[in-house]
Symmetry: C2
Subunit: 586 residues, 2 copies
């Protein structure tokens, strides 16, 4: 079975060259101790954990799946031991405040960790996936006594949190939630109701589990403005079992080693996090972190798919290729990576994975600046950019993760359709990320309706400013002007489209809903152009025959020649949504 | 569990309105008895068999899968009984020569049957899938005594044939096949070697199985010109077991009820079909029929995905839609089909499925004319068109079948990812069709290198002639001129691209290999434009408020507004392949 290997050198390229993160960290008090050597060690150790501990459990966890016996979930063999190693390595607290026992490292290093966790074993990483978001949510919104009681255990990994939103009748529409909470005399609450699709709602990795549950208090307004957030532990302080049970686990297309639980709360004890009826605001802290993480799942699957396909294509021989590099001897059966159709898909896998990595880490980097930059305007700018970029990353990375898994599967021919190779699991596992944490359709509406139209285009203007700055820098550097020039053209297109969208939306309020999906794709395409224009500029300082420079320039060339033409299509598609959409008849 | 229902009314629309098949049949001696009423009954009965017998076994067959016990394959419960019903219904011989016991009906009716078989139960239909191709191959190439011995049993369904090409080292490249045959004194052959990925290589639906096996005779030239085709029955005439065994069955992503076998031939007795070293030509008769069938699998999955998603979207309620039809009361939770993002995907599902149906049946109709038209030039023209269109249908329908299954799954949100709904199986089952019977990359090369460049563009000119004729007819009819006009523009684009491709290929022999995939997509997009321009013209004679007319015009409008913009992208992508593609380094 093929196994994922941590892509350490490209991660270093993004951190050190593309982001120039160490320079930025030097200017930030919170990160002044994070020198490049420390960052490199953290990434290497994270990579070793993912390659050596998690990757070997990926296929076996999928085969075995989870079992629910007498209300107790049994995770696949090895999952619990791997979690112990994860805790002992200090990984849960990587980007948490040292005041709570964390290591206080930048979130961009956590992004690298998350990418590798998901790439090596998506199902396993589901258990830890919400922990950082829950930490942020509790840190920002829980009362001090609740923080003191639970935050150290979240940061150390002694407990694992969950996010309990969905109910059978309420998926994308959390305004329909019914789960109820009654206040009690001691300031606590009694919670009763059912929750569905709760990842890690029950498991055997930790003794205690902390459920963060959206509920409705008596007299709460209808809809999403009437929700409150409760912390509901599986075990109460005095070793008493709380009233929350796992009724069933889902049988799913993929991530079979992750227990997706239907939970039943029956007069469970809980405590308010955030304001009464302010559950949505408190939950959104968690959701935004979770959405970036889900985007990184797409990146992780794309990287894994690229590795698997590359390895197979270098070995498998079929037919004579129409052309081969000079040093390769002629053969009646060439390695299939020489065939143009395979070369195209392999280059696309490489170029999209590496481009997504730069953009995904860029968002995490903005989150770091939003939290820790010295000047408030710097923080505000970073916050706006991170907010704008999050739905693009969530939706477009997950869509690419799945479609690239399918393209990689094609490289294997019939073998790819069998369980002998890892790629069929990648295809299945990657598909969920397009759905959960807000479906990709919800992300598209969030982007266009709220983040672009909703703020009068202010955040979008900041993004274009960043992109135009890159274009200007590239035009000023020798050798990469051709890409910078294309990027400038991309910025002009994006500007025109956004102007059009404002105009059309004013005339027809349904228009942005029809255009949202294509608008998001357009932005994603523009961001990859930005990623590759900058990557090309970054390697200009290297020797002409440096392999990194050669490969990055080939990749940039491939992107602008072969992948950028899709951008004009997305422009046309956003425009095409001007046409009315008929309704279905029943 | 949702279940597929035979889409009888759209099948009738394609046969009677879009193709006007009954009129064509009247002019063909072989089909003069096929009146519209008979055709309608055949389709209805086929639909009933698929909806009532096969669809209920789809999910259970997937769960149970096949088991191999002591060399014997056990198919899922109910599969063998369903096959008996299939045989009793006379379905195996639907489009076979009455001289061998067939019903002599047009292949276009068989195409309708095949679409429904695959849509209702792809795994089951794999057992019967190759039978018609094998019939055509044996009928064209087997010696008379072999025909007399085996053809009646193939036509009645008493035996099921297989197609044995692939070996572990030889997938797309059949030139690498090693399986060997030695001539024997009595005119037969002794066959030894291994074959991989043989669908229905062993099963319990029929007592005997007829393997059609590509082998290499002593002294045969290397490569694909040295192959011969052998017929190798599982059981010999005197009740003696032949030397062919099933070593293992594959564990696969989907079509789990279909036994995909590794077969081992050990001095098995066989007989030559076709010429010595002429196996490829004989096999190609079977492959071309099989490739159209595989295209119909993509259509079947798209239709099933559309049905499932539509049904769910009519029932599921989430959030207030930004707009709703006048007669629908306002609600805080509207049926999700009213939401623009869902309306878009549902319309795309409907418009692509129905458009593919028209094009797929059109190819089958050309096959009928190629075989039975009165005038030889008519037959030759039909043959050229069918040959040209087959790779487009195979690759583009299967790609759409899979991508539409994924789009439909998205409509279900988290539920779509669970095994409670049929759509996750559709996603898994549909994926194989992009790989087998010549991967979609092989189809693209076949189309551009062989079928377009290889014949100097002659067949492609015939296709453009057909499309321009439709545009002219539409421009002459009241009410559908806008679509006809767009179709005329599509024809101009296609003509320009083909001219360019000839020029570029002459300068750079690798160019067509780089452009082939996008060229195929471009043709597929053009064919859907043709399908919808004609569909719009076909309903112009109906009353203005006839529901069929209203729906078809809405669909055509959606196609030209929302889906046609992709055509310009494919044009740009074919052009973009001018750029050189770098080679990977190891």
């Amino acid at each position: 079975m093929q196994q994922y290997k941590a892509p350490l050198s490209d991660i270093q390229f993004v951190l050190e060259h593309w982001l120039q993160a160490p320079e930025v960290w030097r200017a930030i008090p919170a990160y002044q101790d994070v020198d490049p050597e420390l960052a490199r060690q953290v990434v290497e150790q994270a990579g070793r954990f993912c390659s050596d501990v998690l990757a070997p459990l990926n296929a076996s966890g999928d085969r075995q799946g989870c079992r629910l016996i007498d209300g107790q979930v049994h995770t696949p063999d090895g999952f619990a031991a791997a979690y112990q190693a994860y805790v002992q390595g200090g990984w849960p607290g990587l980007a948490c405040d040292p005041a709570w026992g964390g290591q206080g490292l930048p979130q961009v290093l956590d992004a690298a960790l998350q990418e590798m966790l998901y790439a090596s074993n998506h199902a396993w990483a589901m258990y830890t996936g919400i922990a950082h978001g829950a930490y942020l949510c509790l840190n920002a919104h829980a009362p001090d006594w609740l923080k003191a009681r639970y935050l150290p255990a979240v940061v150390s990994g002694e407990v694992l949190p969950t996010m309990c939103l969905t109910e059978p009748q309420a998926g994308s529409d959390i305004g329909l939630l019914r789960c109820a909470a009654q206040p009690e005399a001691d300031g606590g609450y009694s919670i009763t109701g059912s929750k569905l699709f709760i990842s890690g709602g029950e498991h055997d990795l930790t003794a205690n589990i902390l459920h963060l549950v959206l509920v409705r208090l008596p007299g709460a307004p209808a809809g999403s403005r009437g929700l409150s957030l409760m912390l509901v532990p599986k075990w109460l302080e005095q070793g008493e079992r709380n009233g929350v049970q796992c009724d069933s686990i889902e049988h799913k297309l993929g991530i079979k080693g992750s227990a997706t639980c239907a939970l039943h709360f029956d007069q469970a004890r809980g405590w308010l996090v955030g304001e009464v009826h302010g559950g949505l605001a408190a939950m959104f802290v968690m959701m935004n972190s979770a959405r970036l993480h889900v985007g990184l799942q797409g990146l992780g699957h794309a990287e894994a798919a690229w590795q698997y396909a590359r390895e197979y294509a270098l070995e498998r021989r079929q037919m004579r290729a129409p052309k081969r590099p000079d040093q390769v001897p002629s053969s009646t059966a060439d390695p299939i990576h020489l065939h143009p159709a395979m070369r195209r898909v392999l280059l696309e896998l490489r170029v999209r994975s590496q481009g997504m990595r730069a953009i995904g880490y860029w968002v995490a980097h903005w989150l770091d600046l939003a939290a820790e930059a010295v000047q408030p305007p710097q923080r505000e700018r970073a916050r706006q950019l991170a907010q704008l970029l999050t739905p693009i990353v969530k939706a477009s990375f997950t869509e690419q993760g799945f479609s690239l898994a399918s393209k990689a599967l094609q490289v294997f021919g019939g073998y790819g359709y069998t369980q002998e190779f890892a790629i069929e699991q990648t295809l299945r596992d990657s598909r969920i990320a397009m759905i959960y944490e807000g479906s990709n359709e919800i992300q598209a509406n969030d982007l266009l309706l709220r983040k672009v139209l909703g703020d009068g285009g202010e955040a979008f203007a900041l993004l274009l400013e960043e992109m135009r700055e890159e274009a200007a820098a590239g035009l000023g550097a020798a050798g990469c002007g051709v890409y910078a020039d294309r990027l400038a053209g991309v910025c002009d297109s994006l500007q025109r489209v956004v102007d059009d969208v404002f105009g059309l939306s004013a005339l027809d309020p349904e228009y942005p809903y029809r255009a949202a999906g294509d608008f998001l794709q357009l932005c994603a395409s523009g961001l990859l152009a930005f990623a590759w224009a900058r990557a090309a500029r970054c390697v200009m300082g290297l020797a002409v025959d440096d392999p990194l420079r050669v490969e990055k320039l080939e990749s940039a060339g491939f992107f602008f020649d072969y992948l950028l033409p899709a951008l004009d299509y997305h422009v046309a598609a956003v425009r095409a949504a001007e046409a009315q959409l008929p309704f279905l008849r029943e």
